[in-house]
Structure formats: C-alpha cells, structure tokens
Amino acid sequence: MASERRYLAGFGGYLWGELLPWLGWRGLVRLLVWTGLVNLVLYLDVVTDWDIGWVTLESLDEAVDLVWLFAALGAIVVTVGPVVSERRRGTAGWVVSKPVSRGSYIVGKVVAHSLGVAVSMVFIPGLVVYQWLPDVEHVRGFAPPTPELSRYLIALGVVALVTTFLVALVVMLGTLIKRRGPVTGVSFFLLIFVFTPPAVFSWSKYLPGMLIDWQRPTGLSPLANYVFGGPMGPSEAIWVTVLAIGVFTAIAAASFQRAEL
C-alpha cells in the first residue's frame, strides 16, 4: 500500500507482541505438549523397539531427525493459522492501522514464529532428548558414542534454520493465496518436494533437504553424520536455505505492501 517512510517502523513493539503468546502460559503448554510428544515417540521407539517405519535407529542422531520432522510439521501448522486468518478476518488491517509498517508486520511474523518454533519445538525438545537418551541406550546394551553438546546444538541450529525456511515459505504463501487449506496443502507438498532424497535430482544438493534428509533409506543422514564428528552437509544447501528465507520474506512483504486490507 502506501510507501512507508521507515520500512521497519514499529518492528520492536510488534515483534514483542507476537512473541508473547510463545512466552505466556499458553506458550508453556505448547512447549510441554510438544516436548512430551517428541520424547514419548522417541522413548517408545527406543525402549520397546517399536518401529514406526521411518525411524529405525535408536540413538541421538535419530533423535535429531525426529525433532526435525515434528518441528517441520509444527512450523507449518502454527504459522498457517495466524498468517491467513489475520488477513481474512481484518486483524492484519487493524495492526497496520497502528504505527507499524507493513514490512514490520511481515518480518515480525517470520522472526517471531521462527524463534517460537526454534525454541519450543527444536531446541528444548532436542535438549531434553540429549539428557535421557544416552542413558537409556546404555541400559539397553547399546553403547553409541555420546556426541559433543556443541555439535548437537549446531545440528539443532540447522534444524531451526530449516524450520525458519518453512515459516518464511508459509508466510509468503499466506500473503499470496490467502486461504488456509491451499496454503497448508502447498506447504506440505513443498515440504516433501524440498526434502526429497538427493538422488532424485542432480540439483538437489542445493535443497535444504541435503542438510537433513530424513527420507534416506539407510545410513546416517548428513546432520546425524555431523553430530558424530563428520562434515556438515553441503554449504550450498545452507546458503540457498538462508537466501530462500530472505527471498520468501521479501516476496511476502512486497505482496503485503500492495494488499488492500
């Protein structure tokens, strides 16, 4: 709409307002539910040897993949609602009638949801796993090496980067499509496409999936490999992921700038 004199005017106040739902008791409930869910599934898998198909290893590297899978699904679900419904119901119009630029609205959405997902769906569930899983593995007679915490945290950081990619994707789709069903559907489709096993396409080394690759049939994923001392996945995939986050956010902001609210 109208060109804004300060592109990120009102960003701080808006970001704080968007973060509050993640910090209050509702955020705490969401954190507990999510952490409990991820850890319960992993515990069942490890202790009962329950094989749910795509989870085959019972160690911390597998935990990273499981945290990633849940966080990816969660990132889409928790972002679609606010982005689409706020636009349709008029809440977005109310927010930008305040001294908040449209750029701040979009960037704030991406940053707040990315941080919320990273903390409550990636780092905290992942660190809880890190606390108990090695002990359980030892009790069961396995003796996987305990990875360095720093490598494990970096691996979780990569997961958070990729969930940020998904949040930015959903925000972009939400500003372009404006309907919850299609945005959710397209996001899940792209989730599968972007994280397709690298062998399918020669150019898939540029996809974020190369960093995580939870669909691999056998062996350690690039991220799990990193956790146990191997190299990180291709740097191209990291840069492309970062670039894509910026491009998605810019497209969302440009689209929202012209939107009639």
Partner: protein, 320 residues
C-alpha cells in the same frame, strides 16, 4: 511541505472502484481541526472506504487525501502514530485477553510506553470504556458491545490527535451509546473526532460539523446549523378548543399558504401550516388569534431535525 494549519483531513476528488462497483465517485471532504465531525450517509455511501483510504489500508483509484496537511497515501507510520482508528466490525486476536490486546496496541506506538506507563494507561482505558472486571476475558468470549468498547479503548491508547471511528455506537445498547457520546465529549478538548454513524440524534447532540455522503460522493457539508438549513417556513400552532371548519378552509385558501395539516391532541389541536412565502408569517398569526371557540396557546416556527435534513439530502441519491 506540511501544512501546520487548516483542515486535519482533506479529501479531494477521491475515486475507488472494486471491479465494476464504484465505491467512491469523486469524494470531497474537509474536516477542520479541533472539531467533532459526523460522517453520515446510507449503507454503501462510501464512508468506510474513505476512512480506510485515510488509514492507508486501501488505495484509491484516483484522487488526493491529506492528513495533518501531508499526503495520506504516503503518510506512513509517523502519521498513524497520531491517529486512533476504530474499524467497522473490529477484529482482534481472539485468543488474547482484553488487557493483552490493549498492551499489544500500546507497544506499537513509538517508544512503546514503559511497562508502568502502559499498565496505568490500560487500567484507565478499561475503566473509561466500562470493561472493568472483563479485562482478563478473551476477545472470543466478549459480546459485540464489549468488543466495540475494546475497539474504542485501543483507538485511544496512543492519546491520538485525531480519532477516526467507523460506527463507534454499532452494537451498543442505549447506555453504551450514551457512554460513547460522553467519551467523545471527554476527548474533544485535545482530539479531533471524525466518526461515522447512523444514529442522528447522537450526531446532533455532540457534533460541531457533519458531512452527508451518498453514492460515493459528498452531498452536503457544514455545521449542524448549515445542514439544518434556513427555516423553510413551516409553523406550528396549538389551538385549545374546537376551531371552526371554516377557519381551516379560510387559512388554506390564502395564496401564501401551501398546506395545512391538523392533528387532534386531547383538548388541543395542532396545526402545521406550511407557507409558500416565508415572509407571510405575520399575516398568518392574526388569522389564528381571537377566533370563536378556540384560543391560540402556542405559535412557533417548526423545528427541523437533523433526520429531516438528512433524509431530504440523501433522498436525491437514494437508489443510485
């Protein structure tokens, strides 16, 4: 260059089309600083569209709009920090409480208000709009009237120079409507209030000036007195007793009388006499005084309500 004097809102030749539907067709508007300004018109007249353009929420097809002397279409957050806006059917985050919504809104203003100031401001507004005891209630649990009160509170949170209220009394009961009027009276010393409504009694009670719009354009604008217009020569006479039929015939036969209507009200008979020549009032009065069988107890120029004037003005564009 910003104008520091002159109207706080200035709209000139504003057009807005949604496909083949023309919401605005050359809207003009001047809202003087320091006034309470009523924006009147039937549904679909273009009131909300004009307000949304002023707030930068939608873009006009063509035309100009100025806020505080600056181009409203490019005014941005700096101008909006001086405005409180209540949209029609306000929609807030339904999972947040009244208090959380007001704090959220307060933090969006430059400086963000420190926590103590913000808390005091929120407390004061909750009391001012009558939401005490409901401040911990989620928006989704509020009634329509309570949501409207919250809308008014959030519009006031930044202590605005200009309040733009799109039907602030919608959904409110008579007491709530009265409170809105009181609230407008409270803030009028420091704030220009530009509001739309269909409740003309309220407008007449509180507004300094009004604009009547219809069919996407301005039909009339001015002070309440200007809009009510020059008396059109209708007089009311109250006669006690039973005036002779001949008297009515005689008055009606005068060449300067356009019409005579009579209504019985107990022991009184009310005559509404419309003159075709406004200067003939001094000839009407002697005809009614000292008649056999009745006494003239009251004689005055008929009042004309804003509703009469409004209906007369919008009547010309009704159904466009």
């Amino acid at each position: 260059m910003a104008k520091t004097v002159g109207p706080i809102i200035e709209v000139s030749g504003l057009y807005k089309s949604y496909g083949k539907v023309e919401a605005l067709r050359g809207m003009d508007l001047l809202v003087p600083r320091g006034t309470v300004f009523g924006f009147l018109g039937p549904n679909g007249a273009g009131k909300s569209t004009t307000m949304k353009i002023l707030m930068g929420l939608i873009r006009p097809t063509r035309g100009e709009a100025f806020l505080f002397g600056r181009d409203a279409l490019h005014a941005g957050p700096a101008a909006r920090s001086r405005i409180g806006y209540l949209p029609q059917d306000p929609e807030f985050h339904t999972d947040r409480t009244v208090r959380e919504i007001l704090k959220f809104a307060g933090r969006l203003y430059p400086g963000g208000m420190n926590p103590l100031t913000l808390r005091r401001r929120v407390d004061a507004l909750i009391e001012q709009v009558g939401l005490v005891g409901k401040d911990r209630r989620r928006v989704r649990a509020l009634s329509g009237g309570e949501r409207q009160r919250l809308g008014i509170a959030q519009a006031l949170i930044g202590k605005p120079d200009l309040l733009i209220l799109d039907e602030p009394s919608a959904g409110l009961d008579p007491r709530g409507r009265r409170e809105v009027i009181d609230l407008i009276n409270d803030v009028r010393q420091h704030t220009t209030v530009f509001y739309s409504t269909h409740i003309l009694d309220d407008v007449q009670r509180v507004s300094d000036a009004v604009a009547v719009v219809g069919g996407g354009r301005m039909l009339a604008q001015g002070s309440i007195g200007d809009i009510l217009g020059t008396p059109i020569g209708t007089y009311t006479a109250m006669l006690r007793g039973k005036p002779a039929a001949a008297l009515r015939k005689r008055v009606g036969a005068e060449p300067w009388v356009a019409s005579v209507e009579t209504v019985r009200r107990g022991e009184l008979e009310e005559w509404t006499v419309r003159l075709s020549d406004d200067s003939a009032a001094d000839r009407l009065l002697p005809l009614l005084v000292g008649q056999r069988g009745c006494d003239l107890v009251e004689f005055h120029l008929s009042d004309r309500s804003l509703e009469d004037a409004y209906l007369e003005i919008v009547g010309g564009v009704h159904g466009e």
